[in-house]
């Protein structure tokens, strides 16, 4: 089994080392802050927090090569029930409409089901970023589709290709076949099959050092191929750009693609994507309760900027709504092409 950068004690498991590469290695590249300033954005502020994204643990049954979380079976960071309780207090704020649960594999947190049930009691829409294979990883997870259905959870799952070769090259041997079985199980309980409110969305991200092609064309092709070959249906496909951080940064550096990839991101800069970057309506919470502008800043240990509170125990939505978002070179990943930040293409 491949190990996480953290367990390997890899240079890039340290956020400062990643930032030093991103900020200093390519000094001729325009700083993201200056780039957006040229379009009138001297700072970026939230439009209002509507999505509360919680990383409930870095443990995962997979070790994908591009993982920006550096997740894996060897990661032990897991959100405690006490921190979950702090989340439940924070999300009572009525402007927060959606709670987005991510990881690692969020289902590996022993209190996952309790947490989903409690969030639902508060009337929030729940998204679970399910890696699909977890459903088959152990008998005790086989009923996850029914559990999701019971709580009307929106399921968002990665599938970088409708072919085994490309999927497994990024996510590990056998992942494609298990993902297909899991998608069929989700379809079987009603996910992604009809207008019944059970939403199953797929996420495409490039398996290599390149940017995603047209989201619309991919969605059409995925729908045709997955149905023709496996009888699978789903709602929407989001095409997202890989962020040059953590394991994907390692891949770019080792394969000699780092500079070219950053050049591509910058060349594809699309000013109309600035307004729609994820950090404008999302707050990201780490397993230990710290607050970040997005999951990417979380992995770079860039906590929200003072005077916004940096920990859930001091959660204050007014102060968070008026903060300046922390922007670094990796932010070019959110403004490339149609722009994408976890939700898929956001601008035309």
């Amino acid at each position: 089994m491949i190990k996480s950068l953290k367990v390997l004690n890899h240079n890039l498991s340290n956020a400062d080392n990643q930032l030093s590469i991103l900020e200093n290695e390519l000094p001729r590249q325009t700083a993201f802050r200056n780039k957006i300033a040229a379009f009138g954005y001297t700072a970026l502020q939230p439009s209002g927090i509507e999505v509360f994204q919680i990383n409930i643990g870095k443990m995962c049954n997979q070790v994908c090569k591009h993982c920006h979380v550096d997740a894996g079976p060897d990661r032990k960071e897991i959100m405690t029930i006490e921190t979950m309780q702090l989340c439940l207090v924070a999300i009572q704020n009525p402007t927060i409409k959606t709670v987005d649960l991510t990881g690692g594999a969020p289902e590996l947190n022993p209190n996952f089901r309790w947490f989903v049930t409690e969030i639902k009691k508060l009337g929030k829409h729940i998204i679970v970023r399910c890696n699909l294979t977890i459903i088959l990883a152990n008998k005790k997870f086989n009923d996850l589709p029914d559990f999701f259905k019971l709580h009307q959870v929106e399921v968002v799952s990665s599938l970088p290709s409708f072919t085994a070769q490309r999927t497994d090259s990024q996510r590990g041997d056998g992942v494609f076949n298990d993902s297909i079985k899991a998608l069929q199980m989700l379809n079987a309980v009603g996910y992604g099959v009809a207008n019944n409110g059970l939403i199953l969305n797929l996420v495409y991200n490039p398996a290599g050092a390149f940017l995603p092609p047209s989201q619309a064309a991919l969605e059409t092709e995925y729908k045709t191929e997955l149905f023709k070959n496996f009888g699978i249906t789903f709602n929407s496909l989001f095409a997202i750009t890989n962020m040059p951080i953590s394991r994907y940064l390692d891949y770019l550096l080792v394969s000699g693609n780092y500079q070219k990839y950053m050049d591509k991101l910058i060349a594809a800069f699309n000013p109309s994507a600035i307004n729609n970057v994820m950090c404008r309506n999302t707050i990201s919470v780490s397993w230990d309760g710290f607050l970040y502008d997005c999951d990417f800043n979380q992995m770079l240990d860039l906590k929200v900027k003072y005077p916004a509170p940096q920990h859930l125990s001091e959660f204050n939505i007014q102060l968070l709504n008026t903060r300046n978002i922390v922007l670094k070179q990796h932010c070019y990943g959110c403004t490339a092409g149609a722009g994408s930040s976890c939700g898929g293409a956001v601008a035309i």
């Binding site: 072919t163 490309r166 490039p206 290599g208 092609p213 047209s214 064309a217």
Partner: protein, 111 residues
């Protein structure tokens, strides 16, 4: 001038041909852009055709560009190699079919 004829960085300077003749360059790039849009064929299908043609005309810039483009659009290594074989078969066939012309000539003059 570099001491070699092809330079990969020149691919990124393709648009500069307009410096010497802008109206014609503009017309060409507009046309090029239109050709590769979705039509009766998809952008993806056109990319694979372009890859095969790039090999047939042996343009290193086009091979660079369309190897990346076809892979990014989702073609597998095997599909891309089959497209190159199509180009090779047509090129090979184009040579060999002229063998008939050679035979015709030989038959004309041979005793």
């Amino acid at each position: 001038m570099a001491n070699h004829y092809y330079n990969s960085e020149d691919l990124g300077k393709f648009g500069n041909i307009g410096e010497y003749q802008k109206p014609l360059a503009d017309k060409f790039f507009d046309y090029y852009g239109e050709v590769f849009k979705n039509g009766a064929l998809t952008e993806k299908e056109k990319s694979l055709i372009a890859l095969a043609v790039a090999h047939a005309v042996q343009c290193p810039y086009c091979i660079d560009a369309y190897s990346a483009d076809a892979y990014e659009k989702g073609y597998s290594q095997q599909q891309m190699m089959e497209a190159v074989h199509v180009a090779a078969a047509i090129k090979g066939g184009a040579v060999l079919v002229h063998g008939v012309q050679m035979m015709n000539k030989v038959k004309e003059i041979a005793m």
